[in-house]
Amino acid sequence: MKKFYMLSLPLAAALFLGGCRGTADAADADSNTLVVLNYGKYLEPSVIEQFEEETGIKIKLEEYESPEEMYTKFTAGSISYDVVCTSDYMVERLISEGEVSPIDFSGFSNYQNLNPDILEASRIFDPENQYSMPYFYGTLGILYNTTMVSQEETQSWNILWDDTYRDSIIMQNSVRDTFVPALRLLGYDINTEDDRELTDALALLIEQKPIVYAYYVDETADEMAAGNAAMALVYSGEAAYAMELNDDLSYSVPKEGSNLWIDSWFIPKRCTHRENAEKFLDFLCREDVAMANFEYVCYASPNQKVVDALDEEVKNDPTIFPPDEILENCTVYKQLGIDTTERYSYLWKTLKSE
């Protein structure tokens, strides 16, 4: 029987490991848990520990990479998430699909820490500010290598069509972000649903494709840090990470205007630990917690207390906190109708298959 014994060894090992896990799983039955769905690396780990210690609530964190992916998993509906963080337009979509329940902010002790301007901007996707709570915000702009591109050049999206930078331009591998420069250059609204305007933008992007180095969904920061390209269309958060790695990098938002994004928390209708979820959101608004998260993520924080406590240098860093004159030109994504979404998807495929 020696051979069967050998075969059973790995199984025993697996079961043993399972036993260790078992304790974690047991918490599942316990009502005192909180299932959190968030972007990858978007929450300082010590914050989780601190929350668990203070409240005795056990957090189960699930991470994702893109809002669409999140939507796929979320709508599949198999996991009952208690609290979710995602991007503006996705929040709007889920609100419109009736998946989101209002949050009772009256019970919050730290809600007033949030910057009213950002709450105001959030009204585009959450008109009453009743479904969502902003977490971080930022812009879409150009990350560029100062040894190859000058700051003035990056004041216009036109630079992304400049043939001298052939094979040195990185675009986003996500449809709406890549359409933003084209739409803004043509003077169209980034939330346009006009088929003709979208087709015009596509023509512009097809014209651009030969000089594009790559459409990256990830890694843009690393590629830029390695000096593999002169400039890239990125979110301000990624830009900050890249600039940390390479001093030659800088970030700017072109004058034609761009996207202002606000990542917000919401509580799904199917939430099973509502009380815990609200406790958690209130906790995130606390100054020390918000500061810890800011230092970990390095995106613009909507928490006024945090901003006030920062050094002037950081506070005025245009990469992290977009200045007002830039914000004026920036728009938050609106959720598009199903037809436009499919249209976008088709245009995107057309661009890629060129």
Partner: protein, 260 residues
């Protein structure tokens, strides 16, 4: 002699091709910089910290559990299935084999999504659903490893054992098992490897808080992969490499002088 050398060079080039990225990753695990593209000097610190970081060790143990459990269960089911299939009539056999090929030939993403569509109808996504998914795509590898060995195996020896009064189970253990053992073993290792390497299917079938090394890596792509993961991957790889060396030593000992 020239032929011998050109053969060796060719072998060397192919193996370099296959192992070069691994050398790069091992190099990265000693890189004293968080970035993949900037060399910050030599360090061993990631090896120290990869066992203290709870999220990493958590993902590592989940990976081990799923991989081992899926491999063992699929080896059991798959080996039994192979024996059963080999005893079937030609028509039934080709139907079974046709279905077996489906997970191998379908795009990973389609397999993953179709399983997710199924799971969400009947159960909550979690550890178990990942396990089921892994078993599902592991079984074909086991069957395809065991079946050829069964076909090579001499059927009459099994029947001879029955004739000599052995029970079917005993005859299987004493006669058939030694012949298919290498196939079962390599099926098991293929299953382990495929489970370890899978991303797409795990991603769609996993529940909240269940993270394997692959899915963890994926969420880290945008904001930089933690260097601890290179260290952990290196350890895992070296472990497999040592296993292979030990196996090879054992086979050296069994090597006969060759016939003359």
């Amino acid at each position: 002699m020239v032929k011998k050398w050109s053969e060796r060079i060719y072998l060397g080039v192919i193996f370099l091709f296959l192992y070069l990225p691994i050398l790069v990753l091992i190099g990265l695990s000693f890189n004293n910089s968080r970035s993949r593209v900037v060399w910050g000097g030599f360090t061993l610190k990631w090896y120290a910290s990869c066992f203290t970081d709870e999220t990493i060790t958590g993902a590592f143990f989940t990976t081990l559990q799923i991989t081992l459990a899926a491999a063992v269960i699929s080896t059991l089911i798959g080996t039994l299935a192979a024996i059963g299939i080999s005893a079937m009539k030609r028509k039934n056999r080709s139907i079974m084999l046709g279905a077996t090929n489906i997970p191998l030939l379908n795009a990973d993403i389609v397999t993953g999504i179709s399983l997710m569509l199924l799971f969400v109808k009947f159960m909550n996504l979690g550890f178990v659903t990942v396990l089921i998914a892994h078993i599902t795509f592991d079984i074909p590898y086991v069957i395809l490893n065991v079946l050829p060995k069964l076909n090579q195996a001499n059927r009459s020896t099994y029947e001879a054992a029955l004739d000599l009064g052995a029970s079917p189970a005993y005859a299987f253990y004493k006669v058939t098992w030694p012949e298919i053992k290498p196939g079962v073993f390599s099926g098991f290792l293929m299953a382990v490897t495929m489970s370890l390497d899978d991303f797409s299917i795990t991603f769609f079938t996993k529940g909240a808080g269940v993270n394997t090394l692959s899915t963890m890596l994926y969420t880290e792509l945008r904001k930089g992969i933690r260097p601890e993961l290179y260290a952990l991957s290196t350890i895992l790889f070296l472990f497999a490499f040592l296993l292979l060396l030990v196996m090879n030593r054992r086979s050296d000992k069994q090597m006969t002088a060759g016939s003359f």
